[in-house]
Amino acid sequence: MNHILIAPVVLPAVMGALIILWMRADLLLQRVFSIAGTALLLGVALYLNWMASSGEVYVYRLGNWAAPFGIVLMLDRLAALMVALTAALALAVQLYAFGSGWDRKGWHFHALWQFQLMGVCGAFLTGDAFNLFVFFEILLIASYGLMIHGGGPMRLRAGVQYIAYNLAGSTLFLAALGVLYAVTGTLNMADMAARVAMMPAEDTALLRTGAVLLMLVFAIKASLVPLHFWLPSTYANAPGPVAALFAIMTKVGVYAILRFYTLVFPQDTVIEGVVMELLLPAALFTLAIGQIGILGTRNLGRLAAFAAIGSVGTLMIAVSQFTPQATTAAIYYIIHSTLAGAALFLVVDMIGARRGDLWLRLDGVMPGNGLIAALFFATAIAVVGMPPFSGFIGKLLVLDATRDTPQAIWIWGTILVTSLIAIYGMSRAGSLVFWKAYEFQDVPLAKMSPAAARPGPIPTKLEPDEHIQDLGDAASPALAASAVGLLLAGIVALTVFAGPVTRFAADTAAQLHDPSIYLGAVLDNQEGTK
């Protein structure tokens, strides 16, 4: 048994506790330990990827109890990849939090950050359904704290909404687990899979109920339409770096769907049809609403939030096919959309810091206009999926994987049309914020509408806005910009090395669609356990 498997859970837990106990008063010490912890986590995650790349599935039995009775952590290619993605994202975004000064705006930013990482990594690694619930709660509790970091009436109110929605979701999760336990008599995911496979088809009414309830829970986390209503206000009101970290949170829901419906309820069992019939239309609507939202919104924060919803839509179209080829596309798109979505939130936060609010309105030229315009341009191209960046390759993979399905016309139509809408929305936002700003100063006051006809290059602020961190508070705008650069470098690398990454994703998908390795690793060969 290899103890390194539990390191991605223990390391952030210890680091978070140390920060809160010993370094409460010293921000510099917090920063040093927090970034060191995240860097170490990334190192561990890369090592785990190297381990998992052999194709073997590793099991960590907590307390060395035999499998269906004790809790297990599982490491396969997908889990290792997701942990590495989390750590890499957290490292880059943390640099942004230092540079923008967001982490100074309230208490316990770094401790909550570490607990958030603990919950996310635990959710990716666990092989026990109830343990998954516990890790979901850990990541949610930390996210409640992070979401209202910095305070302010609007953010707190959005926080209350977020918490209420997710509490209802947690309740539903428990109900689903209760149903599944009542039917199968186990909570270990591998054991549950073995028992579901043996269940006679006429006894599965309750099992199907449990499977659909569980899908609803994960759909809330992944913000699938019509369960996405919590996302726009939450992400738009959260501090920039926190919203960027939350880019991995929707992926937790997607990961859980991918894991549960390939392992526990694979396609050829009784669940066939029920879940797939529900998932694809939901994914198409999610994509459409996300992309139309990009065009329709009047706020840059909500624009980034709707882009996140849209990316989940594309992702879930691939996931809902449950074929190895489509899963390959989904895995590639998970990496891309996490990096691109996070970068967009950071760029939007940089704009907010310079303009004073996030409304899409005509205003003067902001400091550093050229650099931020370039970053926004690159990020927007990646998000909407135009060449030359990885979003284009990701969408091509999804389109290719769905080419021969009966629903191909719906999938292709939705993806292509909504991409155009998103391009239009992004260009409108970009040209209004960056380009028209140069015209703004030349417009004679008489020609402007009465509301805008105020003296001075920049109109007085509409209302004090807590969404953003003023540039004056920033510790180092250069560090903040280079953090965005890091994420974009990741997107470029994903584009350049698309071949090797796709092969890796194909191996991962093949492993995912052959649950026998996973089942064998957990249930057989239990020598030396209690």
Binding site: G151, G152, R157, T171, A182, R298
Partner: protein, 123 residues
């Protein structure tokens, strides 16, 4: 027994759902609490309803009650208790900073230049 338990779960769930759909945060907090009570009872029943049986192995005993749902309920109680405390603090913070205790987002969240008093959504 079965009727009593299932109707209790049903009534608690119905009341909880009604309350979390209310617009004031106090009702929502109460609603989530009731929902978590209902779910705890439901989890308890997933190990089948058995009365007066031991949950641990003893010599000379052949009938048992399932101990696992009890452990799950214990975990769920702790988590929901902590969550209720967090929700109350958040709702209180939103009330003290924002001036009212509504849970829906005001128009000022979606449109620029709308103060909450103008929109008639103040206290």
């Amino acid at each position: 027994m079965e009727l009593l338990l299932s109707s209790a779960i049903g009534v608690l769930t119905a009341a909880g759902i009604y309350l979390i759909l209310r617009r004031r945060s106090f009702a929502v907090v109460l609603g989530t609490t009731l929902l978590s009570y209902a779910i705890n009872l439901f989890l308890f029943s997933t190990g089948r309803l058995v009365v007066n049986q031991p949950p641990i192995i003893e010599s000379g005993v052949t009938a048992y009650t399932d101990p696992l749902p009890q452990a799950l309920v214990l975990t769920a109680i702790v988590i929901s208790f902590a969550m209720t405390a967090v929700t109350v603090m958040m709702a209180l913070g939103a009330f003290l900073e924002g001036g009212d205790d509504r849970v829906d987002m005001p128009r000022a969240d979606r449109e620029p230049g709308v103060s909450r008093i103008e929109a008639g959504e103040g206290r």
